[in-house]
């Protein structure tokens, strides 16, 4: 059936099963492959997107739950890869393989939007995504830098 979705500010109609995971609508029907599949059970967070500003593990969210809401993916946070959080991530050369990083950035961004000055404890509680390469040390520093950059009003 036709699903009306608002993805990265654009209204799109997708003909798909409303029970299909939102992740695969985004990746396969809409061709936005920056959001990743890894565990398929909402554990690792590689599939994290924002739905109405809240971080959602899209591999486990039926597509119909996002109808009528604003969906934001990694492709939608900046036109040029230079959102302050991406600038901060680059400053620390944070990613290794990079596979988990889209989801990691979306989780961290949701935290920063809710709490512009997060403590380490806030980060521990809110950024619960898994990274197998072990980039956490740089992720933490990048989140703090991103908080500073966003406070400076750069975006």
């Amino acid at each position: 059936m036709a699903l009306d979705l608002n993805v990265n500010g654009t209204r799109q109609t997708v003909d798909a099963d409303p029970q299909a995971p939102l992740l695969w609508i985004i990746r396969d029907h809409l061709g936005l492959t920056g959001t990743k599949f890894s565990c398929g059970m909402g554990q690792c967070g590689a599939c994290t997107v924002h739905v109405d500003g809240q971080p959602v593990r899209s591999c486990s969210a039926p597509a119909e739950t996002a109808v009528g809401k604003r969906i934001t993916t990694i492709e939608g946070i900046s036109p040029d890869g230079n959102h302050p959080i991406q600038v901060a991530w680059k400053e620390f050369d944070t990613p290794q393989c990079g596979y988990c990083q889209s989801g990691m950035i979306m989780s961290a961004l949701a935290l920063l939007q809710r709490r512009p000055n997060p403590s380490d404890a806030d980060i521990n509680t809110s950024v619960t995504n898994a990274c197998r390469c072990g980039t956490y040390h740089r992720i933490r520093q990048a989140i703090h830098l991103a908080a500073d950059l966003m406070k400076d009003g750069r975006r």
């Binding site: 798909a16 099963d17 299909a20 995971p21 695969w24 396969d28 029907h29 061709g31 936005l32 492959t33 920056g34 959001t35 990743k36 599949f37 890894s38 565990c39 398929g40 059970m41 554990q43 690792c44 590689a46 993916t73 990694i74 492709e75 900046s78 890869g81 991406q86 991530w89 680059k90 050369d93 944070t94 990613p95 290794q96 393989c97 990079g98 596979y99 988990c100 990083q101 889209s102 950035i105 380490d120 980060i123 521990n124 509680t125 950024v127 619960t128 995504n129 898994a130 990274c131 197998r132 390469c133 072990g134 980039t135 956490y136 040390h137 740089r138 992720i139 933490r140």
Partner: protein
Amino acid sequence: MGENHASDVNRREFLAIAAAAHGALILGFWVPERASAQAATPEVNAWIVISPDDTVTIRIAQTELGQGVWTSNAMMVCEELQCDWNKVRPQYASANRDAREKAPAWTLNVMGNGATDPNGGGEPGFGNRDRTGVSGIPDSLYRRMRTNAASSVKDGRYYLQLAGAEARERLLLAAANLWSVPVAELSAKDSIITHVRSGRTTTYGKIADRAAQTPHPNPEKITIKSPEQWTLMGTERKNLDVPDKVAGRIVYGIDVRMPGMKWAAVKACPVYGGNVRSCNFDAIRQMPGVRSAMQFPIPDPALTRGRIFSGGVAVVADHWYQARAAVDRMPIEWETPPKNAAFNTANMRDALLASLDQPGKVRVNEGNVDDAFARGAKIVEATYSTPYLPRARMEPGNATVLVTDNRVDVWMGDQSPQEVRFSASKITGIPEENVYVNQCHLGGGFGRNGNGPQAEQAIMIANAHRGTPIHLLWTREEDFIGTTYRAMGMARLKAALDADGWPIALEVRTAMQEDGFGPESSFDVASRYHAPNYRFSNHTTKFHVPVGTRRGIGQAAHEFYRESFMNELAHAAGKDPYRYRRELIARTSLTYKDDMIKALDIAAEMSGWGKTLPKGTAQCIALEERGAETNRMATISAMVHTVSLSRDGKVKLERVDIAHDTGFSLVNPLSVKKQLEGQIIWFYNDAMHQANTIKDGHIVENNFNAFKLSRIDEEPPEINIRFFRTGHWLLGMGHDRATSIQSAIADAIFQITGKRFRDLPFDGHDLSWG
């Protein structure tokens, strides 16, 4: 992806899809032949293409999986080419050309005097001309296309430097010919060629066409720069693909989409060696999107290094979630070998324990161990175990394959494209010269992932659907079946101490399954810690689990055994574990003993070793090394881990102090730091959380709910890294670093609680105290 090739699909259409999906073209991505600027520009040599706008495309024969090889390989070429680093664009080298072309003769001879010559090429290894490409192919164009054994810099450096130097000399020669001046009067820097006397300049981009037509008169005379001449190599460089990684623009194998492509989901028999007895395609035929279903056999072990995986069922559908839903619904009965189905962790552990009591294969027997044990003032004995462990990379196994009548295209991230090429040829009967393995970035590697059968399964499915591109994607649960495992292992270490607490005899017995990638290749044949009487033996038994490399071979397990036992001996002797190690290394005649002592000294100093610590906090030291028994290449580090344990038993790694050998020089110290940080998390996971158990022959923990991955809250707040220079080329550092977290946490628990745990991981034990 890499160098472009015509194929039987419409590449313009593919490009359109890729561009629509990502909004921008990806670095090094596979681009249509005619649309690409570089197609108009002849290459200077097989590694280097320079466009008129001065963009330098550098071909990378290894796979980028987070280790930074796209950047470090490019640095090695750029250093000698003397081009502008800001204009460098990496691109994957063509595994197809590698099947068709031989390496240039000037790349075949390694210059210099081996591991301890700073002016030479070190000690690269290429193995024999092995058709499967397991050991690299010594005379094919790109030679070593595998990405394993922490060896990309070790094996590739000299010929990547040569490739850059050859191109630079030909660019200079072309300019000299154009200007009719002696080549010796020209200099090159940052892609600009200058004739100082006349003040004339040109750029690499302007002269590249001519350079491509200008042969090198005597390429065998080309020399490479030694570390003191490096200006780019040895400096910290951010990774070239990071901007695309933070924008979600990098194409991994899972992101490949082709016109007309269908998705495949599979179920393989969870018990290795099993097969499909029956299945019912009719039950799912009418499900949405389903196109076809098929059985596939156990992949030919000749294509999977002798490992026996399983046969299974594949469903092909328009979308992957449809294929997955259908294969989940499909009624399947398995045919499992009863012997394999009888294995479980408990009886496998018993078998390993029993093998420790068998004679085993004695590798070293120095002095008279039995006599010395009879004389010992104190005998210390301990048995340790390490579980089966997978790599569990974040990107599940996948491959996209198109088979037509006389050509195979594979799109995937794989650590050994030469092996995939061989598999594709064997399965389809199409010659390797017509196989195109289009590399993608890989979402984590940690051991040659292609030795799981995702490529072979995808090729079998696509071969049955000729003309249709098939994208196979494993579920996470399938990935736990399809991966290979670091073998479960046990070790019994026994020492006799004299009255002062120094070992007079050491006996080491290790047990692992046959071909378990450990006993034969990892444990130190020579003891790193001196015992005048020393015996080391390997004990094997037969299990059915396919085993392979995993961030090293057996080294991580063996260093857990060795360093844990050294802590136990130091405690039994009443001596300081740092000074105890230091003295026992000093008593050896190992070539690199001074470097090992230096590593311990630096790590101890960095950590403030011996300072008073709060109650519930302990410091533990350990040595980590590869190659220290030789006078060849080696990597040596030591770490001090500061570990706290709350009264209710929660472990926290507070701080890590690392002293790490650079050899003559690192290539990109930033990548090395990142990999050290990453391995801290890796081995923390091994110490605390991760184990795969076996029940009725199958792997039990098969997703991240049961197989735990540490999160950011377990990352140590303080990591200090200090590098020190040594007099050999480095053996590599992509694995076997931070293995000491395992022995350190064990010893911290002992120091704080008095309880000694010798079986990894430590989760699930009562660690409370006070």
